[in-house]
Symmetry: C2
Subunit: 143 residues, 2 copies
């Protein structure tokens, strides 16, 4: 199923979606960013971060991913400092309406360490190892 033309939405539809979601006691919902693929199933999981209602509405109406930064306590327009933006292709939520999956086109790398995705720790050969290389120096991302 082609999903490329369903986003951005109108502000009214974005509000309808945002109202359907269940936020936690901090007003946040986890949002998983996954690389879009031609078959619509998605590929590499890039990162997970959090959204508040305002970030959901902005993401849907701009078709550019905006999270809520828990540490900075404000909207976090992905790529605003690093240039590593995420274009929204699809926005799906689950049976309990308390988790979001977004299919995205990632510009550059998703992780602040300069790796393509954030999930680079795993067990290999009987010990904990880093399984992905740094593609862009953090100094170049944020320098």
């Amino acid at each position: 199923m082609s999903t490329a033309t369903h986003y951005p939405t109108t502000p009214e539809l974005a509000a309808e979606v945002a109202d359907q979601l269940n936020y936690n006691t901090d007003g946040l919902i986890p949002a998983i960013a996954q690389q879009n693929t031609a078959d619509g199933k998605g590929g590499e999981i890039l990162m997970m971060a959090w959204m508040n209602r305002e970030a959901v509405v902005e993401t849907l109406t701009n078709a550019r991913v905006c999270y809520y930064s828990r540490s900075r306590q404000k909207l976090w327009r992905k790529g605003e400092s690093s240039g590593q933006e995420q274009s929204l292709i699809d926005f799906r939520w689950d049976c309990d309406q308390d988790t979001v999956v977004m299919l995205v086109e990632q510009k550059g790398v998703a992780c602040h360490t300069g790796r393509h995705n954030c999930f680079f720790n795993a067990v290999r050969d009987g010990k904990v190892q880093i399984i992905a290389d740094v593609e862009i120096s953090p100094d170049d991302l944020y320098g």
Copy 2:
């Protein structure tokens, strides 16, 4: 990179991994289950649930996914009621050590609604729609 032989781990290594993770104030960490693929990047995102430290250790040492049910407040061995088990292929965690991605082989369907994955709500043609069919009746899953 082949990942099939790295799990299950020893109890000692499972404890080492569990100690590296950052749990929230409820002692939980979000865990995303993704269908394993031959290229190691993973495909369809099946579900997201939560784990406590005990669930992490059990999952790693059994290579079968065990969550922690927030509603029932106890370990939730995925498939124990429905038969829809998840075999663990890889267990990865992120830069902040506060989110887990698991590559799994899903038996049957992941969602309690009988759909293959939980993320079946999305915008299509200007309105909110259900984008996936029920594959197994919930009555058959839990009847």
